[in-house]
């Protein structure tokens, strides 16, 4: 949208990882349209607050619906959209600060509900929009604008957290690979339950980790990214847990349990028991 609107005043920094994630989401939505035949208007992008959330305004091509709400609350907004109209494809876009810090309390409940939405998290290990404060995924000891003597806390491991909370589909990706990333996102959208695609999306201004992630063999830097091997069985929870103990950043589908019932399906299962009454009947029950 923004390109046609000169008054729009948000821009990502050159080289920002979020450009790649935006491409990947566009690919995934188009891929899904081709797959399901549903119109673009059937997609709703619920955005968090931060650089990543602005993705909702920067999508190119035919536009989906979107909500750009308040900090940390993209998940419960998505809960309302999805449960109001379960036929919609609801996608959350948020960053590590929005999703894991202020919004962290909402991950567990959606996992328990198995809310059928896909959250794409852009992790740059820093609060970028507020200019470089430490976030849950900033390394311990790192000096940032809000940790002048080094970060005191340990770094959160989001994938381990999601696994522990019972998220039923967990994938890990990299913004520098939009095509493979789009496949992970599309798998997440197709997954009949709560899916999180956690993406390393570096901030070129405050926490540029491109080289650490991709490695620089000429200078003896081993890449932190490594592909999850094909023989990994994503339905095996213990295997997923073990995989995370190997360190670095695994790329691919870590965990996938599609046997669980999603919240919207579970609700349909209650209709028989409920025997809904008309308002006339409900009011009549108070007569005497």
């Amino acid at each position: 949208m923004s390109k046609k609107n000169p008054e729009y005043d948000f821009k990502w920094c050159p080289g920002c990882g979020d450009f790649g994630v935006r491409r990947a989401i566009e690919f995934a939505m188009i891929g899904r349209l081709e797959e399901t035949g549903q119109p673009m208007a059937n997609n709703v992008v619920v955005a968090g607050i931060g650089c990543s959330g602005n993705l909702v305004h920067l999508l190119e091509g035919e536009q989906p619906y979107g909500i750009h709400g308040i900090h940390g609350r993209s998940l419960p907004i998505a809960l309302g959209v999805k449960m109001a109209k379960p036929t919609l494809n609801v996608v959350v876009v948020a960053g590590d600060g929005d999703f894991l810090s202020i919004g962290g309390e909402h991950i567990g409940p959606q996992a328990a509900r198995n809310l059928n939405i896909c959250a794409v998290i852009m992790d740059n290990g820093v609060y970028g929009l507020t200019k470089g404060q430490s976030s849950p995924t900033t390394l311990q000891g790192k000096i940032t604008s809000s940790t002048p003597f080094g970060k005191l806390e340990t770094k959160t491991n989001p994938l381990e957290l999601y696994l522990t909370l019972g998220v039923s589909f967990i994938a890990s990706g990299f913004s520098g690979q939009p095509r493979p990333l789009s496949k992970l996102i599309q798998q997440g959208m197709d997954h009949p339950g709560f899916s999180i695609v956690h993406v390393q999306s570096p901030c070129t201004t405050y926490n540029d980790t491109f080289i650490e992630l991709k490695g620089d063999l000429a200078n003896g830097i081993q890449p932190a990214l490594w592909d999850i091997p094909e023989e990994h069985d994503p339905s095996d929870r213990t295997a997923a847990h073990d995989l995370l103990q190997q360190g670095g950043v695994p790329v691919g589908v870590l965990y996938n349990d599609s046997s669980r019932v999603s919240l919207d399906e579970a609700v349909v299962g209650t209709w028989d028991k409920a025997q809904p009454k008309t308002v006339e009947q409900l009011l009549g029950a108070f007569e005497f």
Binding site: H57, G69, P76, I77, V81, P276
Partner: protein
């Protein structure tokens, strides 16, 4: 002379049947054609703790819980000590003589109700023993009570006959026991059965059914006293295709979930109390700026933070009208009676859809837990609320125009971003001053669509007016009726629409020398707001956790009126 009404207070320990006794009395009285209203207050704990409920039974429609107590039923010593001073000199105290003794109070009558119940073979009939003795005190015919018992316990089970028999026996025992003592209050005038079909309903239930009558589709909530019964009612009844009631994990989830649902085209609502509203602040601001219809019901309790969870107060008006940062003023409807809990909810859903934004319906603990007979609402006169939906093609400018614009619904053409950042016509974020000016004015202009001339007034020629709001309406009306009879020159105004106020009423109020606002808070919140609008308003405040007594208001209003008139003559 025959009595036209009387008040019975039941006091004891939670779990002793205090509430069921009062509600049973109210129920049986309405069944024979009286009007009844209960008032309850509980401790905030699961079991035990001092609790009391009172029922006012009247030949005429009941406006308040009543100033004085004619009969106190004390289940234990503490209850007697705490409440005996509220009992009239010629009243009666029925106490549980199995538990304790009272000496030196000639109003007291010991009734071993638990033992008497046991003697009928039904340990659970103690309530009926009490009711039998109450019936004697007011000379209520036994057949009224018998028909109540028959209706209540006729549940199609084999043991029904046995239960009915033991309960009737308990009624008779209570009656004969007190008859021997010679205690009597006189005779309650015979009932004048209301012409219209009545329903016996609590404020929280009335809110729930009202919202559903207006077409509520989606409810998300989190348990909190005293709003929980709305959540429970919805979870049982707002079920089926295209409807949902769901318990979420916090009030933050509740407000944001209904934002999502309202955006997706549903008539959405949550109910909470003060602490929940505090957590919903930011969400209310989002619904306001992004123009998303939704309703928040605030069943007010007392105090800040956890405050007084089970007491009543009207101290959230500021917090609800101005709940969020930035320029925000939320439309407010405040229910003053159980009936208005129903119609207020209907209106709140209608308003939200009409102006495409958040609406707060204020209720109060004293209304929420009050059971009262009201005329059964005529559902054929209530329309499902509808918003103006966008039906065009893509490329729509959602936020174009000076006030309301049709709202696209996800799934249909017209995709846009509902934006919580300041935005331009298409919903794109912008920081340009001209857009902020335009959008701010657009949002306030939309509220004007809700203005109506819906208010009550009486004796409007007087220069001094009474203007209660919310649940203080009942006691204020009772006071006003007395003052009118006594010839005090005051006028009466009332509306449940606090924002926007009915413009005609506001114009009239601005011409008054004094507008007296009875309200249950320390700061005089409504009179503050009225003064900012150019009304010479002054509050009568009370913050005890209990509703006003009509008598208190009669005295204060008389005093304020006379002082003002004196001042006027001197000038």
């Amino acid at each position: 002379m025959q009595m036209r009404d009387f008040v019975v207070r039941f006091a004891g320990e939670g779990g002793q049947g205090v509430v069921t006794s009062a509600e049973g009395l109210a129920q049986s009285s309405t069944q024979v054609g009286y009007h009844a209203l209960t008032f309850a207050t509980f401790p905030s704990q699961i079991l035990g703790g001092p609790t009391w409920t009172q029922a006012r039974i009247s030949v005429d429609p009941v406006l308040s819980a009543g100033d004085d107590v004619n009969v106190l039923v004390a289940f234990n010593r503490e209850a007697y000590d705490a409440h005996q001073q509220d009992v009239l000199k010629d009243g009666v105290v029925i106490f549980n003589s199995t538990e304790f003794e009272i000496e030196g109070d000639d109003r007291s009558f010991g009734l071993p109700f638990e033992e008497l119940a046991k003697s009928t073979g039904n340990n659970r009939a103690a309530n009926m023993v009490i009711m039998g003795s109450l019936a004697h005190l007011i000379n209520m015919p036994q057949e009224h009570l018998i028909s109540f018992v028959q209706e209540r316990f006729n549940r199609g089970r084999t043991e029904d006959a046995e239960i009915i028999k033991s309960n009737i026996e308990a009624l008779s025992l209570g009656r004969s026991h007190i008859a021997e003592s010679g205690f009597s209050l006189g005779e309650l005038a015979p009932p004048e059965k209301p012409k219209e079909q009545q329903v016996m309903i609590k404020g929280n239930e009335a809110v729930s059914v009202g919202a559903m009558a207006a077409g509520l589709d989606f409810y998300a909530g989190y348990p909190i006293s005293p709003a929980t019964p709305i959540l429970l009612y919805m979870e049982r009844n707002l079920v089926g295709k295209d409807r949902l009631a769901y318990q979420v994990s916090s009030e933050i989830e509740a407000i944001t979930a209904i934002i999502g649902a309202g955006y997706a085209g549903k008539r959405a609502m949550t109910a909470t109390s003060g602490p929940g509203v505090s957590l919903m602040s930011e969400g209310l601001g989002l619904a306001w700026i992004a123009e998303i219809p939704l309703v928040v019901v605030n069943v007010q309790r007392g105090g800040p933070a956890t405050g007084l969870p089970t007491k009543t107060e009207q101290s959230d008006l500021f917090g609800c009208m101005f709940p969020a940062h930035g320029d925000v003023k939320i439309p407010i409807i405040a229910a003053g009676t159980v009936e208005e809990c129903f119609y207020g909810a209907v209106k709140a859903i209608e308003w939200a859809e009409k102006y495409q934004g958040p609406v707060i319906l204020l209720s109060e603990m004293a209304l929420a837990e009050r059971v009262q007979n009201i005329t059964k609402p005529d559902l054929s006169k209530i329309q499902e609320a509808k918003r103006v939906e966008y039906t065009g093609s893509n490329g729509y400018l959602r936020y174009a125009g000076d006030e309301l614009s049709p709202m696209p619904i996800p799934g249909n053409p017209g995709a846009y971003v509902a934006n919580g950042s300041e935005h331009d016509h298409m919903g794109d974020t912008t920081h340009l001053g001209e857009h902020h000016v335009h959008m701010t004015e657009r949002r306030f202009r939309k509220v004007k669509l809700l203005e109506s001339d819906d208010y009550e007034s009486d004796q409007t020629d007087n220069s001094i007016a009474i203007l209660p709001w919310g649940g203080s309406k009942g006691p204020a009306q009772e006071a006003y009726n007395d003052l009118k009879k006594a010839g005090l020159p005051v006028s009466w105004y009332y509306t449940m629409f606090l924002n926007p106020l009915p413009p005609k009423m506001l114009e009239e109020l601005k011409k008054k020398d004094l507008v007296i606002v009875p309200e249950l808070n320390y700061q005089g919140q409504f009179s503050n707001i009225l003064r900012s609008m150019g009304v010479k308003a002054e509050s009568i405040t009370q913050y005890t956790g209990l509703p006003f007594k009509a008598r208190t208001l009669v005295a204060k209003i008389t005093e304020m009126t006379n002082a003002n008139l004196k001042e006027a003559t001197r000038a």
